[in-house]
């Protein structure tokens, strides 16, 4: 029964697109950490010089990123099962009225959590090897895998158990779940950053930094994406030795993960006591008469409040929940702790958030959703696209607002470039989805877009957001024009067959 539950849970999640979005994001993040020798930036620098990584040090770096990333995203991904099931569209009622014990149900979920995270870790390991191999002299895959597994596996065991605890404790609340995940992430990162405290660093996030500090021999070493001269000299080579202390610490961490899961399994209250959530928010219905007025007619302008309320309804449909809190908090923390370059993070928000939000919009486009109703309320096909672009653009810009303010204060052109990039990717994502009738091409386009910006040799003409160099006014103008052209093309196109049929 437990294995059957685990298999069903795992199948359900493996066939969910959002699973692969999370995996893709983590892989792109890992790719960013390994710039080539001639790159315009470095992730580890010692007084303006590069630090060369051995196979084991590369593995430690990849593991650190995966653990840090998964300690929020992975945790949230594996902790929403009860929330999902207790909605009217969920299977909570079938589960709670089945003779299966709570222990069996939850044990199956824990196994599914573990398998899912382990699968992510394995795929990330393979791809990290593919990325790192050409960039490390005398690459040793065995050493790489050993260090990677040592750091990643115990962390994933902890996260799988923590996901179960989160489910049990925050069963109905997404906001509390997200908030708690961020607080725990902050604690984990803080502990990892304390010199000498890595012995109580169960997620293994601080292990690499500890080794880096030891290898620096007093030389100031920075960990984070920083500009670097293309022909910068090498400060030193970094290795990551496996010590008995490290092995013992990681075994203890894995056992702690099992103990956390057992705690949830034993302490779980009756499944039957879970509430069935009221899932459907009241749908905004526009019952005012529509006219064939031109977009800029006085009648149309007089209805601006109506337009605003339609855009607000679109944003509500995305069911953002705790996402803004999570993204904003991560952005602020990421910047404060210096893990990522501000511009890169802002670009991630501005491009990847629409991707994630697209997933939510897809949910409303199912036969059980409200999208077909919304579609019938639009006076014209073009309105459908316009609302999506407005809503997604507004949401992603709002999420990145702290960075836009920061960027505008330092360099207005830079902020303008970020906004242009946002307009372009939001338009592209929605337009492709609209025309194709499927969200997948839009997701792929957005993902490829973001990955393009992580290339080390990005031509300045394309680098509209100034990730690797200062943005140019010509590039910004070109992006805005391209976005408007895509929007115009989508507005005159036909809605896709899949959407129409749903």
């Amino acid at each position: 029964m437990i294995l059957a539950g685990a298999a069903a849970e795992l199948r359900e999640r493996l066939r969910d697109r959002s699973t692969y979005v999370a995996l893709f994001v983590s892989l792109v993040g890992i790719g960013l950490l390994f710039p080539s020798d001639g790159s315009g930036y470095a992730t580890i620098a010692a007084t303006g010089k590069r630090v060369l990584l051995s196979s084991s040090a590369s593995a430690a770096l990849a593991a650190v990123l995966l653990n840090a990333f998964f300690s929020v995203v992975g945790l949230l991904a594996v902790s929403a099962t009860l929330l999902r099931d207790t909605r009217p569209s969920g299977i909570g009622e079938s589960l709670r009225t089945s003779p299966a014990s709570n222990f069996a149900l939850l044990a199956g979920r824990w196994l599914a959590n573990l398998a899912l995270l382990a699968g992510f870790g394995a795929v990330a390991c393979v791809l990290a090897i593919v990325m790192v191999w050409p960039r490390v002299a005398n690459f040793d895959p065995v050493s790489f895998v050993a260090v990677y597994a040592l750091l990643v596996v115990p962390a994933l065991v902890i996260l799988a158990g923590a996901g179960l605890v989160f489910d049990v404790v925050f069963r109905g609340s997404r906001a509390w779940r997200v908030t708690a995940a961020i607080v725990l992430w902050l604690i984990a990162i803080s502990v990892a950053a304390i010199p000498g405290a890595q012995i109580v660093d169960p997620l293994g996030i601080g292990q690499f930094e500890a080794q880096l500090a030891a290898a620096g021999h007093g030389v100031p070493v920075s960990f984070g994406i920083a500009p670097m001269s293309a022909n910068a000299p090498v400060a030193f080579s970094l290795d990551f030795p496996i010590t008995w202390g490290l092995v013992a610490g990681r075994i203890a961490a894995a056992l702690a993960g099992v103990a956390i899961a057992l705690l949830a399994l034993v302490r779980f209250p009756r499944f039957a006591a879970l509430p069935v959530r009221a899932d459907d928010e009241p749908l905004h219905v526009d019952d005012r008469p529509r006219s064939a007025a031109t977009p800029l007619s006085p009648v149309r302008l007089a209805r601006m409040p109506l337009l605003v309320s339609r855009a607000a309804a679109e944003v509500r449909m995305m069911r953002l929940g705790g996402v803004p809190w999570a993204v904003l908090s991560l952005a602020v923390l990421g910047n404060v702790l210096g893990f990522v370059h501000a511009t890169t993070f802002a670009l991630a928000l501005l491009t990847l958030v629409p991707v994630v939000l697209s997933q939510r919009i897809v949910l409303t486009e199912t036969p059980l959703g409200t999208e077909s109703l919304i579609g019938t309320l639009c006076a014209a096909e073009r309105q459908y696209v316009l609302w999506k672009v407005l809503a997604l653009g507004a949401a992603s810009l709002a999420l990145a607002l702290p960075y836009l303010v920061y960027a505008a204060a330092a360099d207005p052109l830079h902020a303008l470039g970020l906004v242009a990039a946002d307009l372009a990717i939001v338009t592209l994502t929605v337009a492709i989805g609209y025309v194709s009738g499927s969200v997948m091409p839009g997701l792929l386009a957005a993902g490829l877009w973001w990955y393009l910006f992580s290339f080390n040799t990005l031509p300045p003409a394309i680098d509209v957001a100034g990730v690797h160099a200062a943005p140019s006014a010509v590039a910004i103008a070109a992006y805005v024009v391209a976005a408007l052209a895509v929007l115009a093309a989508a507005c005159t196109g036909r809605r896709g067959a899949a959407l129409a049929s749903s």
Partner: protein
């Protein structure tokens, strides 16, 4: 035999959904009739142990099912009003999963799931993902889930909504096969009740307003009135007679 005694359910928002419902369900099909919000679904949720009542008792063959819901869960087949599914599983995978939760052996579960899907006209869709199913198809998957294993108590909340005449006939035929079990059928499709029900319970504002028994034997039909007309008049006027 299922015995409900003075069942009380009050929701968190203050709504009193059940007000002292006392009923006995014997083997056979008992139809629940009432307007929307009359307490039919709440009563069925209590019987299916999805909701714990605030007061009263529920007993299955004399055993207290409020304190020990497993006495019902082990024998229950249940189609809730909103039958949720894992959207990314196929119909056969989902039914196999639910069968595993009911402790049915994998081989037997697969055979039974395929048999039910075939019987309900879903054989060709067995390997399609549930996310692509229509509302009527999902209802049929729900019905199949309720009849997995060997349920002794079957609770069906609006099971035939969205089914066409042909599929409804299949459903009725399936019910006939299980007539020796205790079946609680809540529906607004009165022709289903006319064809199948042995007894009717009329509910209004969380209470039992009236009940009729011996329908199949003709004893309960008052003044020779058809069941459908009786149900319709109750819903429209609040009185079955």
């Amino acid at each position: 035999m299922l015995q409900c005694t003075d069942l009380q359910v009050r929701f968190g928002n203050g709504v009193q959904a059940l007000r002292g419902v006392t009923l006995r369900f014997d083997a056979g099909i008992t139809g629940l009739v009432g307007r929307n919000g009359s307490g039919k679904s709440t009563l069925m949720k209590v019987i299916a142990t999805s909701i714990t009542p605030n007061g009263g008792s529920l007993a299955w063959n004399g055993e207290d099912a409020v304190r020990r819901p497993d006495v019902i869960r082990g024998v229950l087949g249940y189609v809730p009003q909103y039958f949720g599914v894992y959207q990314n599983l196929t119909a056969i995978e989902f039914l196999e999963y639910l069968a595993a939760l009911r402790r049915i052996a994998p081989k037997a579960a697969r055979a039974r799931a395929l048999e039910l899907l075939d019987r309900l006209g879903l054989a060709s869709a067995a390997k399609r993902r549930l996310g692509g199913f229509s509302g009527g198809m999902l209802r049929r998957v729900g019905i199949a889930a309720a009849f997995l294993g060997d349920p002794q108590l079957i609770v069906l909340d609006e099971p035939s909504v969205g089914l066409d005449q042909y599929e409804r006939a299949n459903f009725v035929a399936l019910l006939e096969q299980y007539r020796d079990r205790t079946i609680v059928l809540g529906t607004h499709i009165f022709s289903d009740l006319a064809q199948t029900a042995d007894a009717l319970v009329f509910m209004d504002q969380g209470s039992v307003a009236d009940s009729v028994t011996g329908l199949r034997a003709g004893a309960g039909v008052r003044r020779g009135e058809p069941v459908e007309a009786m149900c319709e008049r109750f819903v429209m006027s609040g009185s079955p007679t």
